[in-house]
Structure formats: C-alpha cells, structure tokens
C-alpha cells in the first residue's frame, strides 16, 4: 500500500478512519493524564491500574452478560480504582513501600482476572474468546464507531475536568504542602486526579491492551518533558505525542499483516521518547554533549591564556616569547596546546614567534590581567 493510498483511506475508509480516530483520542487522553502521573512520580501506577482492570472487565461481563464496551469499561474503571485504593491503603498503613504495593495489586488482580477469564471461556458458551481476550493485547481493528463515540464523550469530560481544575491540579502536582496550607482539599484533588487517570487508562484498554497500556501513560509524557519546563506546553506536547503514536501505530498495524496494534503503538511512542531524549534542545543528550564540548574548549583556551600570562609575569618584557616545549610542560597532561595557541592567535590574544615559541599580545596581556588578577571581573561584566 503506498502512502497516498494510505492517506486517502485514512479519511475515506470507514474502518481505518475509525481506528485512527480512536487511537488518536486514546493518545490525547492518556498523554494528558500521563503528564500528571509522570510529574507526580506515579509512572508505574498506570501499570498497576491497567492490570487491575482485567478482573473488572470479567466481572462486568459475568454480571451483565454483554460485551457492550460501556459496561465492560465501567467494570474496568471500578476495578482499577479499587486497585489504586488498595495500593494507597497498604502504603499508608504498613511499612511496605509503594513499589511492592504496586506489584502486589498488579500481579494479584491480573491473576484473578485470568481465573475469571478462563472460567468464562469454559463455562459460558456464548463467550467466544475473541470478545474478552482482545483486552490483553488490544485490537484497534475491532473498534467500532460507537466505541469511538463513547471514547470521545468520556475523554471530552476528562479534558474539561482537567481544564476546570487546572490551577488546583498544577499546585497539587508541584507543591502539595503549599496547596494544603492554602486550604485546597488535597485529598479530594488526589482522588479526582487518580480517577481521571483510571478513566484515561480504561479508555485505552480496548485498543492497546491491559499489558501495555501503562506505556501510553508514561512514554508520551516522558517525551514531552524533554522539550519544555512549563506544564501547559508539556501537556499539549504529551497529548500530541500520544495522538501521533496512536495514529501511526494503528495505521501501521492495520496496513501490515500480523502486526499487533498495542505493541506497535507502544513502539511508536518509545521511538518518540528516544528522539526527544536525543534531540530536545537544552535537556537533550546531543545538546548536552555539544554544550560540554564547547565548555571544554573554552576552559582549554582560558588555561592556555593563564599559562602564557604566568610566564609573562616572570619576565621583564611581557611579550617575551616562550618555546612551545615549556608551554607543553606547563599544560601537564592537558592536550591540544598548539591548537589552543592557534585559537588564541586567531582571537588576537597570542602571537607566534620563530622558532615555534609563543607570547601574549598587548591585548592578550590586558585581557589576562583583567580576568586572572580580579576573578570577580568577569562575573561583574556579565551582571
């Protein structure tokens, strides 16, 4: 399938359009709430919630006997919410740390979910495996228009709530104690934010699956975090990244044979993280590497200037030339002496004499005097 055909289908093919819309919605919502989770150091809560949702889906099916997405999603949300409550209760009341508490809820709820799923499979004849099993790894192709509409409505409510409580949630995320001291109901806000996270995760279960949904919470937010230090921009970016990963992943998996949706979407999101970590300005690894190189270069020049200045001070004639051998001995292991000297010469601070010796220029002497005799001068200038 070529690109033009794919783009055409994206807008005019019913299945593909539904899948792409659903995945985009899922990415936007999980990206938005994921930003809060990552900032609040709750990245792995998503993992526990999504695994904990499995028994909820099974119980909802056992109770209602229908595979209508809304019923199953409500079951999933209740179970996910219960799981979070349990994690909190264990951490608050015992000395068990949050990592163990998350692990307990994740494994036990999921295990119980499996028991229920296998029970349903064997004892309830109407339940074909396809219906519930898609929740394990997700199946975007199975998305229907009504699923997307459900997602859009729930997601819309979630986003509106985030907007309404923007200031409160921001304060809660960055300075909880201050929020409490200002009289904001931090516990209620905690519950609100957790509930929204649960809803965001549950929305994605159908498409990405229980096992990998946590990545959709962490990855877009972690990628967005690299580009900005402002919450608003981070959330916007996170939602965009989530949507991009969702659409790309869903498109790839529906156009290539045997490519499961959930893992493909997750890999798209992981790629975005990798790109962001490498190339983001300021925080990015390449940027940091470049900055370190520049600093090292500057320090080398400074040290070279200092060596020349030290020698100049020991002579009556400040412009007396010294052999590069002497300068190399002074550098004591610092490489690139000739290179630094040439750089200084280009700046008009040092001068080459035959045979291969160097001295400061009058300008170089002046600069060195200013910089090294009065260490504060440079700071004073920048201020």
């Amino acid at each position: 399938m070529n690109l033009a055909q794919l783009l055409y289908d994206l807008f005019f093919d019913y299945t593909l359009r539904t899948v792409a819309l659903g995945s985009a919605l899922l990415g936007i919502i999980s990206g938005t709430l994921g930003a809060y989770a990552v900032l609040r150091k709750q990245s792995l809560l998503g993992d526990a919630i999504s695994h904990a949702a499995l028994p909820g889906i099974a119980v909802a099916f056992l109770l209602t006997g229908s595979k209508a997405p809304l019923a199953l999603l409500i079951g999933a949300a209740i179970a996910g919410w219960l799981g979070t409550l349990l994690v909190n209760s264990v951490v608050r009341n015992t000395h068990i740390k949050d990592d163990s508490a998350l692990g307990i809820v994740l494994a036990v709820f999921f295990g119980f979910g499996l028991v229920l799923l296998t029970y349903i499979q064997k004892h309830i004849p109407t339940a074909t495996q396809a219906g519930l099993n898609k929740f394990l790894f997700g199946q975007a192709a199975a998305l229907l228009e009504r699923d997307v509409i459900t997602m859009a409505i729930i997601g819309g409510i979630v986003l509106v709530l985030v907007g309404m409580f923007w200031k409160e949630l921001k304060l809660l995320t960055f300075d909880r104690e201050f929020a409490a001291s200002q009289g904001f109901p931090t516990r209620a806000l905690d519950i609100l934010l957790t509930t929204l996270l649960v809803v965001a995760i549950v929305i994605g279960l159908q498409t990405v699956g229980v096992v990998l949904m946590s990545a959709m919470v962490v990855a877009p937010a972690a990628a967005a975090r690299q580009w900005t230090d402002r919450l608003g921009r981070m959330i916007f970016l996170s939602a965009t990244f989530g949507a991009l990963a969702g659409v790309f992943g869903a498109l790839l998996s529906s156009s290539v044979k045997n490519l499961p949706t959930g893992p493909t979407i997750v890999l798209c999101a992981s790629t975005l993280v990798l790109i962001s970590m490498l190339f983001a300005p300021n925080r990015g690894l390449l940027w940091g590497w470049f900055r370190r190189r520049q600093n090292r270069h500057k320090l080398h020049l400074d040290a070279q200037l200092h060596d020349l200045y030290t020698l100049a001070l020991q002579h009556n004639d400040p412009e007396h030339a010294h052999s590069i051998v002497v300068l190399r001995a002074m550098a004591a292991g610092r490489g690139g002496v000739r290179h630094s000297l040439e750089e200084l010469a280009k700046l008009g601070l040092a001068r080459h004499h035959e045979p291969d010796s160097w001295s400061l220029t009058p300008k170089g002497y002046q600069v060195a005097q200013q910089r090294f005799n009065d260490p504060l001068s440079e700071g004073a200038v920048t201020i």
């Binding site: 036990v108 979910g113 028991v115 799923l117 493909t264």
Partner: protein, 369 residues
Amino acid sequence: MTTPQIEIQLIAAVTAVACALPGVFLVLRRMALMSDAISHSILVGIVLAFFVTEDLASPLLIVAAALTGIATVSLVELLNRTGLVREDAAIGLVFPALFSIGVILIARYAGNVHLDTDSVLLGELAFAPFDRFELFGYDLGPQALFLMGGILLLNIVFLLVFYKELKLAAFDAGLAAALGFSPTLLHYGLMSLVSVTAVGAFEAVGSILVVALMIVPPATAALLTNRLATMLWLSALIGIISAFCGYWAAHWLDSSIAGSMATMTGLIFGLVFLFAPERGLLAIAQRRRRQRWEFAQTMLVIHLLNHEGLPDAETESRVAHLSEHLRWEQDFAKQVVHQAERRGLLQQHNATLALTDQGRELARQAFVA
C-alpha cells in the same frame, strides 16, 4: 491424586520457593517492580534465541533470556543516569518497549510454531508434566521440575554464600559500600539471579505469576517479622501454601492455574494485612483505640495531681467539671473515670475524685517522660 497432579503441585511449590528467595531482597531493596520489568522483557531474549536455535527446548534460550534480563536492568540504569527521566518512569519506558518487540517478533515470524504470547504471558502449568526429562531411556520426571529444582538450588547456594553481604546491602547500602562490598557486583548478582529464576519460572507459570510469587509472599512475610532469616523461610512457606491452595482452587473452578495461584498469594496477603499481630489493620485500630483511652486516663490523673492540695481542688475534682476543663464529652468523661477507677488510679466519693498513690505515681511518671 494422580501422578500429573502431584507433579504439577511439586513444580509449582519449587517455583514458589525459588521465586520467593530473591524476591525477599527485591522487596527489601525497593526494587520489587524490577521483577515485573525483567519477567516481561525476557520475552525478547527467548524469541531471538529461538530464531537462532529453532528449538524451544534449547538451553541457549535460558541463557539469552537471562542476558536480556540483565540488559533490561542496565538499560533502566542507563536511562536513569541521563537524569532525563526518573527511575519509575525509566522502568515504565524500558520494559513495555522490549516486550512489544518480543510480541511483534512472535506475531510476525513465529506464528506457526509453539510459541504464542498467551502461553508465555499467562503460562500453562497444566501442560508442564507432558515435557519429560529422560536419561538413557529412563523417565526421570517432568523437565520443568528439574529446571526449577536446579534454579532453586542455585538460589540457595547464592544466598548461603553471600548471605552476610546481601543482608548488609539490603539494610545499609552505604555501610556495605564503605566496608568494601562492591554494590555493583551484588546488585548485578542479585539481578542475574532474578533473571534466571524468572526465565525458568516463565515457561512453567508465565510472567505474571513470576511477579506475584516474587513480590507478594515476601511482602506478606515482612508484615509478620523483622528478621531476615524468618522472612526468608516465611516467604517460602507462604509461596508453597499459595501453590497448593491455588492448584486446588483452579481444579475446582476449572480455570487458569497460574492465575489462581497469584490470587491465593493475594488472599494470604489480604488476611495478613488485616489480621497480622502488631502490623495488621485490626491490630493498628485496636492499638489506636487503647492508646486513646490510656492517654485520656493519663490526662485525668495529671489534671487531678495539678490541683491536689490547692484551694480549688474541691471544684476541679468533680466529674461534672471535667467536661469543661478537659473539653471532654460528658459520657466520655464518665467512662474515663470509670476505667481509671478500675485500674486503681483514683477513688470516687460523692462525684469528687481523689488520686490513689498509684495514680499519683502515673501522673509523675508521665511528667518526667
């Protein structure tokens, strides 16, 4: 019980103990979720090794998977060291990506062979007895039993040899490093152990039960004891009980054995969380209640001692006055007085309270403390 039933339970019990031992240190070192990460990402190693050997029984699969586990740990640390993401986020980024690669590789290139994601993730203990371990034509037992038995032995030997070092590193990593035990070596040693155990258990019971068996029994044991040695054997015991109960529950419901065992570990944890002596929710609630009454009685005797022998002693020592002075509800005040009287801290004459020697002593002690 039929022979396969006994064998399944044996495999499960051995796996439970093998997982619980390194799990204790994961829980103590606050790295419990590393088991989640490792048990998921080893899938890539298994798949890649399978492509090379084209043999699911090859020991190379275990080696490759264990290496992937260690690679996961290093990758998480590498991400963490860049300072761009926090540790929890680093774990949450690494293992879904690796697991996704594994799932995609299986779906695209290994669809026809006996290697499907469901069995890898969920495990199928019921089939474990079908793979026999044969030597010179003799049937010695199920392969999984020997594999897990070997891993259990490895874990026990590692624990015995490095017990002191592991203990010190778990409780005081700084001191361990200062005394010259290499933290990196211990860390990677433990992580290798976790990886190897996860790989072995993975085939038999699936990755989720690996997480359950590694985290839940040790966390449960941590609620019951403060001693490392006790914690180790308690975790093993809880693992074994979960394995047996889980098997029979699954048998009764005709459902997933691994899931049922994970559920059992959770049930035992829930029971201990509620009823553990000292640390259970009930014990905590009871202690808080008792402390509330004891504190009230101490307040009362201090109040009485304060006014004893002074002109206002008459009015201050009236029961009716307490609600005003100590801001107690009338009923509460009456009950406190009643309890204090029963303990012999004070005596009551015509609704006026007088301290006994014992009451005076308690009040003075409360002041000094």
